[in-house]
Symmetry: C2
Subunit: 323 residues, 2 copies
């Protein structure tokens, strides 16, 4: 039987991560409170290093390595935020990083990863090719694989966003950690949702945790309610960070610790994203807009409740906006 991250593991992750990650702000919005009837707290991981929560899991993983493991370096496959996060975390500890990226990855992302000093190896753009190429890198270098979501060190790291929130005062005399009713997080591979749910359970009191997923990439929803891990079936969503599937660790953690998963439509995601940009003046990516869309469209009832929304990131191609 697997042992999932316990309270002490999350506390250790928090102590490690806080020295390297930004303590991200918690924003509020009269507009969104008025529209939804709830009291919303936006935990803004778009202001995190690398522009997304992914840095937390990456830096916790890198800091968990032994000296011997550090010398051999780290490796992962990703075309997105996790690639940058691992490259950045590795640079901070001055250890080698190899990132396997699909050959059609956006140049801006390739440049960002290279800019952090990581070695980039290209492969054809299929999951099979990625995994095979990564296997080769690992067998050649002995590098430690840091999976974007299923790695237990990553899961513990992602949980630190919620732990930080539970320590953060958000208003004159409010400590949301003592009183929040609900935490909403997007779900793709499930690393953020798993870490969030564990953190809420260990360090909160009676907090419900809900995962929010695009209807056009609803594998976590089907897995959660069907009771069997299913893979995405041609996911096709503007929330490109959420096309991945749950894994052997994230699925059982989510089944045991998450209260519900809700689905939102593509136009709801785009509208929510635009409304946050317009009213809150912050740049969030489509994946981050998924839980916002859930509260705006009544998929989660937030009336009269104190609700935390984890804004997962702000890495957007400004030349290709969904409106």
């Amino acid at each position: 039987m697997k042992s999932f991250p316990d309270r002490e593991t999350l506390q250790a992750a928090f102590d490690r991560v806080r020295a390297y990650a930004h303590e991200t702000p918690v924003l509020t919005s009269e507009t969104f409170d008025r529209i939804t009837g709830g009291k919303l707290y936006f935990k803004c991981e778009n202001f995190q290093k690398g522009g997304a929560f992914k840095f937390r899991g990456a830096v916790n993983s890198v800091l968990s390595l032994t000296d011997e493991e550090s010398a051999r370096g780290v490796a992962t496959h990703s075309s997105g935020n996790h690639a940058q996060a691992v490259a950045l975390a590795a640079r901070m500890k001055n250890i080698p990083a190899t990132i396997v990226m699909p050959e059609n990855a956006p140049q801006v992302k390739v440049n960002a990863v290279k800019g952090y000093g990581a070695r980039v190896i290209f492969c054809p753009p299929t999951l099979k090719d990625r995994e095979e190429t990564l296997e080769k890198v690992i067998s050649e270098t002995g590098a430690e694989f840091i999976h974007p979501s299923n790695d237990l060190r990553v899961i513990a790291g992602q949980g630190t966003a919620t732990m930080e929130l539970l320590h953060t005062r958000t208003g004159a005399d409010e400590e949301p950690g003592r009183k929040i009713d609900l935490v909403l997080s997007p779900v793709g591979g499930g690393g953020l949702l798993s870490g969030t749910a564990l953190a809420a359970r260990y360090f909160g009191s009676g907090i419900r945790v809900i995962g929010c997923e695009p209807a056009r990439a609803d594998d976590a929803y089907r897995s959660f309610y069907g009771g069997t891990l299913v893979l995405p079936d041609h996911p096709d969503t503007i929330a490109d960070g959420l096309k991945t599937s749950l894994g052997s660790n994230t699925f059982p953690i989510i089944r045991e610790n998450v209260d519900a998963i809700v689905l939102v439509e593509e136009d709801e995601i785009a509208e929510a994203m635009r409304l946050v940009w317009e009213r809150m003046k912050i740049v969030i990516e489509p994946s981050a807009a998924v839980p916002v869309a859930a509260v705006l469209n009544g998929k989660v009832d937030v009336k009269g409740r104190k609700v935390v929304i984890i804004i997962s990131g702000g890495n957007v191609d400004l030349g290709k906006l969904p409106w």
Copy 2:
């Protein structure tokens, strides 16, 4: 001889405004510091109520009225941020507001003003028509005119952004107010630049103040260096908030208290705006990007200096971005 706002007038404005306005955050960016070689502090008025610094001047004006004046209400002409700011400030004090808007004003702005409960009167889209229509409103209602930039109460109100900054700690052990070398502000009608310059002079120590203007709306530049107030000559810039001209109050205040005015090109404004969105994850409007463009393109030497950039606002038509 006119008496311009003195130290006590600004202090009184600060005491009035702080009860109603947001204390806006001061953000920093490793990316921008690395690019420019300076230490930059972004005073984020895009997070101000109404999405722009304009609320400060409007609320100071409204709060300066006698009971008798308040009963007659306020009026102004504006198609932009000032219209919303006056409407919002008036609503907070529960006094009537009439806003003269050009009949081609964007529907979203008209709706925002009406949403704050103001009366909107449309007129043909020329300055002459605006002024004549406003005259009529004033003669009929006895409302107090609040000019968007030349009103002394507005100028004092805009100065509170810099005063707030001089009170704000921005980092572990830094008080920028004690040490900042330079404050950069966009200049259009000159209300923000005037208030900024007076605040820096009264409450700072040896701070230089520089106005930043689009080259395609360079009337403040020509007025400042030519010594005579000149009007805009077919201004044509994406920084639409900066098409207006200096006035009888803002021109002399700026001549006496501002150290330089620099010009930036349209592509520099668009690139600066995009870089702020991409790296800092905040939404700023083209006018706010003008001083950012100035530091990115060497129009102002910031190397080794502590520099405050006033991010004037974040009201952007997300359907019409300049890239």
